[in-house]
Amino acid sequence: MKKEKKKRGLSYEKQKRLYGYGFLSLWLIGTIVFFIIPAAGSLIYSFQDVTPGAAATWVGFKNYTEAFARDPYFRTYLADEISEMLKTTPVILIFSLFSAVLINQKFRGRGFVRAVFFLPVIVASGPVYSVITGDMNTSGAEGADQFSTLFETDMVTDLLEFTGIYGLSQTLTESIKHTIDSIFAIVWRSGIQILIFLAALQNIPPSAREAAQLEGATAWEYFWKITFPYVSPMILANLVFTVIDSFTDSGNKVMGRIIAMQSDWKYGLAASMVWSYFAIVIFIVGILFLIAGKLVYYEVD
């Protein structure tokens, strides 16, 4: 009761502001303790020589130079992972948009197909996925082997030869092969993206569809003039999600190297590797954001 009276003395705006802080207070405490302090701590580690049991000493950029100049794997892994990310992210985005458009159409058995398409959401973030793909270097690889025979490169080569693409250009055939080889990985990593695109597709106002149909738009025109602009904000969201997801991917070699350094007690080096990897990826995402941001269409509220 007393509190009520005290509050009543404040203006309505001020009161609401206080409540705003009140709603955030729990998160604020948690973020300071479990996010900001650890993140700052890790950043400080990256400039220190941290050995368990001894006091940490400040070494400046030594860890960073060691990571890039002396570590035998870090640079190669970094280049591999980033080029892999740049290659697969657009493919995942295109594939998931395509799939979302497909399963947004009306056909019999749509419920089942949708259920199957979102199944990877349940499985793919866990260790079972690494057993399936054979990433774990266990005998689970057998399963992956047997699986990949279905998409044997020979079949792909035959197909490419048949269509006359083979031999046209080395890089073209290579990239087509790469795409088909990684079809499995792409399908399995697109669950959430498909979900988000599907939601965006269902938010397209029916009036837009009707107008397009009245004007006699073909499916192709409909896609580029109606669908694409409406889902374009979600392309950005999915871009960020895909990139962040590849960070925590179980097969990520850079993260594997970092964890190896950590278990080697080289905390400072590990921290500097994490931060430089993070900085590079954020830089790339920033550039992509700037480019893509110009293509995005926002409906004026």
Binding site: E13, G30, T31, F117, V123, E142, F147, A219, F278
Partner: protein, 323 residues
């Protein structure tokens, strides 16, 4: 006349209509007719192929888990086991200490997911409906939480928990979840914020006018309206916690959760089943046990998914994440 022969009447009607159409309209209709008949076939082929790619490992898992290990070497056995047996399942369950691990996983999983959904919903509501100083900065922190991978902050977190003497206790998972900082909490706050922003303000204004405080308004007006969104986020939280082995691995020194056990399935199996040096198990035969372990660890999630599939897919559409 027309009623007696409706087919003919319709055809005549069509003819009359066509006579009125321009050339463009006719060609449009013809093109539409062709695509309408060809496209479903293509669509079926594409969808069938993709569904196959997704279902293949799961079918393979089921097929392997119930077969005798000798069937792995039998080239005639593709999908249906010749020697159907529950041995692999039983042995793996024993090796994984399934009962205890499952109970432990559920304790961490359901508890953390519940706490985190509640705390992130409160935080999301705070961001959605209140104006205060530093809001932009604080929301920037939420975005940062989404972007920064857990690997970055895990080691200092470990030191913190170690200093508090909480390593190997469930508090290492519970405390962050209770303060809206657990697994993918940033994403969850973001989803809730978007959702609450999408709800009409009139709802709350009416409550305020009736003398409800913000907290009561939130509990009495907003929460019931957001139940489907709560369920969706809860389901995702359950899946994420269920699948997490990375964070668990840092805070627990023993294999306490299912995900962790599956991650280390090889040493687990070796210690429990293949300690005997006289036992020779080829790599191919080994698959039987690993697939059995996989099947057991994801079947609760698959069951949940089968039952609540609608909420996974429809919830995110209603959550306003997109709008």
């Amino acid at each position: 006349m027309a009623e007696k022969n409706p087919k003919k009447a319709r055809r005549e009607k069509e003819k009359a209509r066509r006579a009125l159409m321009t050339k463009e309209q006719i060609s449009y209709l013809r093109r539409k007719k062709i695509t309408d008949s060809v496209w479903p076939v293509f669509r079926f082929l594409i969808l069938f192929g993709l569904c196959f790619v997704i279902l293949y490992p799961l079918l393979f898992m089921i097929s392997c888990a119930f077969r005798d290990r000798s069937d792995m070497n039998d080239p005639t056995v593709m999908w249906i086991p010749r020697h159907f047996t529950l041995n692999a399942i039983k042995e793996t369950a024993k090796a994984m200490d399934l009962g205890k691990t499952l109970a432990n996983t559920l304790l961490i999983n359901v508890g953390c997911s519940l706490f985190q959904v509640i705390t992130t919903a409160i935080t999301g509501y705070g961001f959605a409906r209140f104006q205060f100083k530093g809001k932009k900065f604080l929301f920037g922190t939420v975005i940062l939480m989404i972007l920064v991978p857990p690997q970055v902050i895990l080691l200092p977190q470990y030191n913190l928990f170690k200093a508090l003497g909480l390593i190997n206790t469930v508090w290492t998972m519970y405390l962050p979840a209770m303060t809206a900082n657990g697994l993918r909490a940033g994403l969850m706050i973001f989803i809730f914020r978007q959702f609450f922003r999408g709800l009409p303000k009139e709802l709350e204004d009416a409550a305020y006018l009736d003398g409800c405080g913000p907290l009561r308004t939130f509990l009495v007006i907003m929460v019931p309206n957001a139940l489907s969104s709560f369920l969706t986020v809860f389901l995702f939280a359950v899946v994420w916690y269920w699948n997490d082995y990375y964070i668990c691995n840092s805070f627990f020194s023993t294999n306490q959760t299912l995900a962790l056990t599956v991650k280390n399935i090889q040493p687990v199996l070796n210690a429990a089943l293949f300690n005997d040096a006289s036992l020779r198990v080829s790599a191919r035969e080994y698959v039987v046990w690993t697939q059995a372990a996989c099947l057991m660890s994801i079947s609760p999630m698959l069951l949940m998914y089968a039952l609540l599939q609608k909420h996974f897919t429809e919830g995110i559409e209603r959550s306003g994440l997109v709008a």
